[in-house]
């Protein structure tokens, strides 16, 4: 397993180099002159324009720029500089702590609420469906979860975000309306729930379907006929095996959440990754875009690795070589 992990980590190097080059080319190809845009409607004298272009090395050929970037990152840990003089490394570190807190909150909601709803609905369906009942719907719980998650998935996140901000933040005053002043978890609960709301529907349904299918498996019938108590059958035998698709999904969700949410971070004024990349794209701030996207690629790669390794823990039949 360790050899497998090391090999996977080594495989990330070419993937990372390839993606950063790709993003660099894309940013390079973006129309518009970021330095001219900096001056707004005011005139920008040639001398100042040239000084700024030189400072950000914008006149060098693409490959020279890219080479300097990779060299800087690898040997000096320097991710470049934003147009307002901030180091991109520091920017990523700062904004990522915000996004990570939001992601953790949303992910926990998704995990706990989504899986609980799934198990509840699944058990209800299995009991009602019984032998040969298959995945047929059944039970009040099943119908409720299905209906509820459909509604949650259907509402666009900005509607949910503004409504939640208005009701729970402004009118009821239970949560801060915006910002990170109150710290974790207070500042992150409301946006976290909004981000999780749509996604936990998928988790609930995956868990339910997987559980219902496994309840009909031979080993479950064996366990029941051996006279094991029901909770042991469900928790130890069925649920554990049913979790593989759910874990896969939750794993990719980490990457998804880590990319931040432009809309939710914007509405709740959380200076996270999504918000920063949106601002950087608007002013064509190359180093910030490349830095953040590279970082996100890394997060995705690691999240996938962790998911692959978790399979073995959940199902000992899976081997790595």
């Amino acid at each position: 397993m360790w050899r497998y992990a090391v090999r996977r980590v080594l495989q990330m190097v070419p993937v990372l180099l390839g993606t950063t080059l790709f993003i660099y080319v894309l940013v390079f190809a973006l129309p518009g002159d970021p330095i001219r845009a900096l001056a707004g409607e005011k005139p920008l004298p040639d001398s100042v324009y040239q000084a700024l272009r030189d400072h950000y090395h914008l006149d060098d050929p693409l490959l020279v720029q890219y080479g300097r970037y990779v060299f800087g990152v690898l040997f000096r840990g320097d991710f470049g500089e934003t147009f307002n003089g901030q180091s991109v490394g520091q920017l990523i570190a700062d904004s990522w702590t915000v996004t990570a807190q939001l992601a953790a909150t949303a992910w926990l909601f998704e995990l706990v609420v989504g899986m609980s709803l799934g198990v509840w609905a699944g058990l209800s369906a299995a009991r009602r469906g019984g032998r040969g009942g298959g995945t047929r719907r059944g039970g009040f719980a099943d119908a409720a979860v299905l209906g509820g998650t459909t509604v949650a998935i259907a509402i666009p996140s900005f509607v949910l975000a503004y409504s939640a901000q208005l009701v729970f933040g402004l009118k009821l005053g239970w949560f801060p309306t915006a910002g990170t002043d109150a710290g974790w978890p207070m500042s992150y609960l409301l946006p976290g729930m909004v981000v999780a709301a749509a996604e936990l529907g998928y988790v609930a349904r995956l868990t339910r379907t997987s559980l219902v299918e496994n309840m009909r498996a031979d080993y479950v019938r064996t366990a029941v006929s051996k006279g094991l108590p029901r909770h042991r059958v469900v928790v130890r035998h069925t649920l554990r095996n049913s979790l593989i698709p759910v874990v896969t999904y939750l794993g990719t969700q980490i990457g998804y959440f880590m990319a931040g949410s432009i809309i939710v971070e914007g509405i709740f004024n959380l200076p996270g990754i999504g918000h920063e990349i949106w601002l950087a794209l608007q002013i064509k701030e190359g180093p910030t875009i490349v830095g953040i996207v590279t970082f996100l690629v890394l997060v995705y790669l690691f999240a996938n690795l962790v998911v692959d390794l978790l399979y073995g823990v959940l199902d000992p039949r899976i081997r790595y070589d």
């Binding site: 609980s116 709803l117 402004l170 109150a182």
Partner: protein, 547 residues
């Protein structure tokens, strides 16, 4: 989430549990400034966006300027009547409007205790005027003698392979320190408005040590104003924390113990926070929220005219637009009042003048008939011009969705009133838009916007009449009058010439005025004595009191 909670009893239980945590913890929304006369420092918060720079010579966007304004005093300031008065200057005198003698008041200090001297100003101006430093306010120093030596031209233009040579000197020859508190400024030409321009934050002084590390100064400037940065200072994308400068001896001492600029990504969120009482002052209430803000805030909602104007400029390098009758026709076919009502919720004021109402010498609808909505006259002019051939392309950037909204109205009015049916939009990415205009690539009328640098008509007129105007307008007659105004003995006298220059420009109408922006501002119940200054586009932070 709420939908789920209603239908599923135990999930509802969980939700209730989660939701009640904050209710129990009470007072968890601490800004750290819950002052109720218990000896805690009295501070207030201002909603802002992330500034680009805090060094006065580099800060050129309004969000940066708001902060610099709290941190720095300048030689002069503009009072509420739009008149220039001395701030750090003891006197600013000139006999020929070209050579100016400036005496700095003695006894003023920087936040680090260093005295403010003539040298502090000369250093600051030299630094900003030196091209290779890359400070965006560089061009404000263009009329000081010696500027060209600090900003050599690129011998073969932007596109050419050669680069501008490094300047041989980094000192403006037009600046001369006479004694500790006195310096002389020699301009390239007579300019009666010079004392006015000195009120701009870009002309603020700089302490001795700053030149050694300009980047550090930009991130953590040491100023001379009523407020100074605290230890935590500029926390990027989050907040900028300031405290009262205890050693302040200038003319606008701070009433509060401190203030914090909270950084918002969206004005809508900032507005929600203002209504929730989580931020004290907001200077940019979104137009869509104005009627709600009036209702919710009452007297605490304040609208003031601003120096910002929108124009529709015509590309005169395209011969179709060289016909003045066509320009008159388009200008008279636009119903400015209707657009301001429907698109901007009456947040802006329709205008027929080039300069803003807050500028001395402003005359309402200086343009007269050609900028008034008269559809029949418009059609007459249109027919006189021989109609319009080809596609009429309207240019604007994608910086704000409202541009497309009002351009849509303009397009409909031109269709309806002039019968121009072939109208297309050219919506350009914001990073590209202005270079398109300055490179003369616009193929039709385009949105132009001007943010006032200093309250003088000269600031509006030179940009449109001068050689550098983007429309290829031959503004010699207009510029002659502006130059006469610049040479006049006093600011009051110069106004007469500027008014004539404005008249000349409006008669030719290479650009038609559309509307004047207003600042829509509000404040919370926690703060008092909030007076908004149209010349700063912000509140007088020094006068704000905390209840």
């Amino acid at each position: 989430m709420t939908e789920l909670a209603r239908r599923t009893p135990w999930a509802a239980g969980l939700a209730v549990l989660v939701l009640t945590v904050p209710a129990c913890s009470g007072g968890g929304d601490g800004d750290g400034d819950g002052n109720k006369g218990d000896g805690k420092p009295k501070t207030f918060t201002v909603a802002n966006q992330e500034p680009t720079h805090l060094a006065p010579g580099a800060a050129n966007d309004s969000y940066s300027i708001h902060v610099v304004n709290a941190l720095f005093d300048r030689l002069t300031k503009i009072n509420s009547a739009g008149k220039v008065v001395n701030e750090q200057a003891a006197s600013i005198t000139s006999t020929d409007q070209k050579k100016w003698t400036i005496k700095v008041k003695p006894g003023l200090t920087f936040h680090n205790g260093e005295p403010v001297t003539a040298q502090s100003y000369v250093d600051a101006w030299n630094t900003a005027a030196y091209g290779p430093n890359g400070w965006e306010n560089n061009y404000y120093f263009g009329n000081i003698k010696g500027y060209d030596a600090l900003n050599p031209e690129d011998p073969d233009g932007d596109e050419g392979p050669k680069k501008a040579p490094k300047p041989k000197t980094d000192k403006l020859s037009g600046l001369k320190v006479v004694d500790g508190q006195t310096f002389e400024v020699t301009l390239t030409g007579s300019f009666s408005q010079f004392p006015l321009t000195l009120a701009f934050t870009g002309f603020a002084p700089m302490p001795k040590g700053a030149a050694a590390d300009l980047k550090a100064f930009d991130q953590r400037p040491i100023g001379t104003g009523p407020f100074m940065l605290t230890g935590s200072g500029w926390e990027h994308n989050k907040q900028i924390t300031l405290k009262k400068f205890a050693g302040y001896k200038g003319g606008r001492p701070a009433h509060a113990d401190g203030m914090t600029f909270k950084i918002y990504a969206s004005r809508d969120t900032a507005y929600t926070d203002l209504v929730a009482g989580r931020v004290d002052i907001l200077e940019t209430i979104p137009p869509a929220k104005i009627s709600e803000a009036k209702r919710l805030l009452g007297d605490r909602f304040v609208a003031t005219p601003s120096g910002t104007m929108d124009y529709l400029e015509f590309p005169l390098y395209d011969k179709r637009f060289r016909n003045r009758d066509l320009r008159y026709a388009i200008s008279m076919a636009i119903n400015r009042q209707a657009i301001v009502e429907t698109v901007f919720n009456n947040a802006f004021n329709p205008t027929g003048s080039i300069v803003s109402p807050i500028v001395p010498g402003y005359r309402p609808n200086a343009c007269g008939t050609p900028c008034t909505y008269l559809p029949r006259h418009a059609k007459d002019y249109f027919d006189k011009a021989g109609g319009f051939s080809g596609t009429l392309e309207l240019w604007f950037s994608n910086a704000d969705p409202s541009y497309e909204q009002w351009m849509t109205d303009v397009a409909n009015q031109l269709k309806q009133n002039l019968g121009i049916n072939d109208v297309k939009f050219r919506k350009i990415p914001v990073a590209d838009y202005l270079s398109n205009l300055s490179d003369h690539k616009a193929t039709g009328p385009y949105r132009a916007n001007w943010v006032m640098d200093y309250p003088s008509a000269e600031n509006y007129l030179t940009t449109r009449c001068g050689d550098a105007n983007r429309m290829s307008y031959d503004g010699e007659a207009c510029m002659d009058l502006v130059t006469k105004g610049n040479r006049a003995d006093s600011i009051e006298e110069s106004v007469r010439f500027y008014q004539r220059a404005e008249q000349t420009l409006l008669k030719d109408l290479p650009a038609t005025p559309l509307w004047n922006w207003q600042n829509q501002q509000g404040y919370s119940k926690r703060v008092g004595n909030v007076r908004f200054d149209p010349y700063e586009n912000s509140a007088h932070y020094d006068q704000v009191t905390v209840k």
